[in-house]
């Protein structure tokens, strides 16, 4: 596999008033060419910092990182000519129109006027913005803003596109449209896509996913393989009285992990046939009503929480070993 994005033992330390803070703490990852890679994790896990360090937007404290073989720190401008990037907030000049934004980024990337004539309409129709060329960027809807940002970041036909939470604050329909655009991009141009997202469902659209927690990668694999890493089978039930029910099932033999999911409980068990009646009995003993206990498929969300739990439990010993 040809490597497009590479990082090893990456560290980024911020100086804060309370002392140094490692936002990225020994992170290693590899993204192959043409892959769609999702960096998945909650807010504050270090997704944005990782992306910015790899792009060379922040200085690196330690480790190595590169894109297309260009070092993040030393070959900054080589990277900037070959990579497209969409920052987390909407940060295109809001008081320029759609077409002015496109022309600005095209010129800044060194594109000739003739090429712009050809390329800009293509991208506008790709992003579905052809009818809004004269509208100010600041007056576009959330979804359209993201599409404009994508169009601007693709103007120089980059081989790699890095997107930091591109669907933040975007409605579900627009989110789907946006991901379809990314899908087309990969299929038609073979572009390597690197996406940061807190949304577990978006991870399912990636070839490979890296789970980031406290500035470290705790798993990196295909979505299916990551879900297989979780031990046991998943049972779901909706109890009548939530808190006592959670207490009653936690620690039962064969119940590996209990997670809450809205008004439902998610239980990882070693054996469904054996444990289902035992759980029902434990709840009945405390006079807690519940609906049917069903086996459900493990989704990214449960897998993530489970892997984080496992990590936290293993944490202290591992730190001693290091």
């Amino acid at each position: 596999m040809e490597i497009a994005i590479f990082a090893t033992d990456l560290v980024k330390t911020f100086r804060t008033r309370k002392g140094p803070l490692n936002a990225v703490d020994g992170l290693s990852l590899e993204v192959g060419r043409g892959e769609t890679y999702g960096l998945l994790g909650p807010d504050g896990a270090g997704k944005t910092t990782t992306t910015r360090v790899i792009l060379g937007l922040l200085t690196r404290t330690a480790g190595k990182s590169s894109i297309l073989g260009f070092d993040s720190m030393h070959d900054t401008y080589a990277i900037r000519e070959r990579v497209g990037y969409i920052a987390q907030q909407f940060v295109l000049p809001a008081d320029l129109t759609v077409i002015e934004n496109m022309r600005f980024f095209a010129s800044v990337q060194g594109m000739s006027p003739e090429m712009q004539e050809k390329r800009i309409p293509e991208l506008l129709s790709f992003a579905g913005l052809s009818d809004f060329t004269r509208r100010l960027a600041g007056q576009l809807s959330g979804g359209m803003k993201k599409k404009l940002a994508l169009a601007c970041s693709l103007i120089h036909e980059p081989q790699v596109v890095m997107l930091d939470e591109p669907t933040l604050g975007v409605d579900p329909v627009s989110r789907r449209e946006f991901w379809n655009l990314l899908g087309n991009l990969r299929a038609e141009k073979g572009v390597t896509i690197f996406v940061c997202t807190p949304y577990m469902d978006e991870a399912e659209r990636c070839n490979r996913v890296g789970l980031i927690y406290s500035g470290r990668l705790i798993a990196s694999d295909s979505p299916a393989a990551i879900k297989r890493q979780v031990k046991g089978h998943l049972l779901e039930l909706r109890p009548g009285r939530f808190v006592p029910a959670q207490a009653a099932v936690t620690g039962l033999p064969g119940v590996l992990e209990v997670q809450t999911y809205g008004d439902k409980l998610h239980l990882f068990v070693d054996n469904v046939a054996q444990r289902r009646p035992q759980i029902a009995a434990a709840l009945a003993a405390q006079d807690i009503s519940h609906d049917e206990i069903r086996e459900v498929e493990v989704r990214m969300e449960e897998a993530y929480i489970s892997l984080v739990h496992r990590r936290e439990q293993a944490g202290p010993e591992e730190r001693k070993a290091a």
Binding site: Y77, Y85, A87, V91, A94, D95, L96, E100
Partner: protein
């Protein structure tokens, strides 16, 4: 890879579009200097006319009446009170009823004849501008009467502060060069133009950079191949243009509306203004490297304006200042431009006399822009 003209023009076009599109800021940028100009030109006058005056005439002859008449018709003094004695006049100053007192001794006409006439002028020492204007006006009138003048500064509390100048010799003759009518505006306006321009340039240069960083636009632009120097020039060139236009407007108003003479070369003035605006923008860029928010940028600019008002020689003479304030003044481009501006506008001299200040401004612009470019990072942290 070196600077690319295509990227620079793209940045200049973007900034110009944004500058012209933001109508409120644009109005502010244009209106504020005009308001400042009119405020300064109309409200700030260094000479005090129509001082309310208590007259003590112990002579009551033709000469004393003529002298009083001369004081009043000079418009510096208004005879608002007739007092019986020096003590009474002083009481009136203590009470704040008048700002000045004129005491004419008995036998005034005879004394003048003999050539040793003396008149006492009492001035309210708590108001230094009144003292200055009143004293200089009275002494020039006294000269024409060939009499000596004893002036006393009187504090409000009633204690005489002693003579500010005992008896000026009658033979002194002063010739005022360049500004024969001693118009304050001729002195003030060339400096005010510079003050307004520097204030505008520093604030706008700092704001335009900090704004991008605060909103986050900087991140999206930094991730393109744009170089820091291109980014800086792209932002500064449109500002330079608009501020040059404002300079022309203010200067035009000064000459055609306020009637201030422009004696020297307009071309030289144009080039030196360009240099001065460049230096001030550079100073603003330095502010932007320190300020994190637009609010901070504005506050730092205000401090710079305050220092400029006091230390650059607009009103208060710089050679009378202690060393440290003088040194702080040396750090402001305005200090050099005021001398250039007065030199060209009022004196009508050229580079032969002004080259030193012009050279300092060149150095200033280059150093400040280089420092700003060096501290302007290609990264976010």
């Amino acid at each position: 890879m070196p600077m690319r003209i295509q990227r620079l023009t793209a940045l200049i076009r973007k900034e110009t579009t944004q500058l012209l599109r933001d109508r409120r800021t644009l109005m502010f940028i244009i209106a504020l200097p005009l308001i400042e100009l009119f405020l300064f030109a109309y409200a700030v006058s260094l000479t005090v006319y129509h001082l309310p005056t208590a007259i003590v005439d112990q002579s009551h002859d033709s000469q004393s009446r003529a002298f009083i008449q001369a004081l009043v018709s000079s418009t510096y003094f208004d005879e608002t009170m007739v007092a019986g004695s020096e003590a009474e006049a002083q009481q009136a100053i203590d009470a704040g009823q008048v700002k000045a007192g004129v005491v004419i001794p008995p036998d005034f006409a005879a004394d003048i004849e003999r050539g040793d006439a003396n008149v006492l002028i009492l001035l309210d020492g708590s108001d230094s501008f009144s003292v200055q204007s009143g004293y200089s006006a009275a002494s020039s009138i006294a000269q024409s009467f060939s009499l000596s003048l004893t002036a006393e500064k009187v504090e409000r509390m009633g204690t005489a502060l002693g003579n500010i100048s005992g008896t000026p010799p009658i033979v002194t003759s002063t010739r005022v060069l360049y500004n024969p009518d001693m118009k304050d505006l001729w002195f003030i306006l060339p400096a005010i133009v510079g003050m307004i321009i520097q204030t505008l340039a520093v604030a706008q240069a700092a704001l335009i950079v900090v704004k991008d960083r605060e909103i986050g636009t900087m991140e999206q632009i930094l991730v393109t191949p744009v170089r820091p120097i291109e980014l800086i020039l792209g932002k500064m060139i449109p500002l330079l243009g608009i501020i040059l236009v404002i300079t022309a407007i203010i200067l035009g108003l000064g000459v055609f509306w306020f009637g201030v003479a422009f004696q020297g070369s307009l071309w030289l003035y144009f080039w030196l203004s360009l240099l001065f605006i460049g230096s001030s923008l550079g100073l603003g860029l330095l502010v932007s490297t320190v300020a994190k928010t637009q609010r901070q940028a504005q506050q730092i600019s205000m401090v710079i304006m305050l220092f400029s008002m006091l230390l650059s020689g607009i009103v208060y003479p710089r050679n009378a200042m202690p060393l440290i304030p003088q040194a702080i003044g040396d750090l402001l481009p305005l200090t050099y431009f005021i001398r250039l501006s007065r030199g060209i506008m009022t004196k009508g001299v050229g580079l032969t006399f002004l080259w030193q200040d012009a050279l300092v401004l060149v150095g200033y612009a280059v150093v400040v822009l280089l420092v700003a470019a060096a501290s302007f990072k290609k990264r976010l942290d």
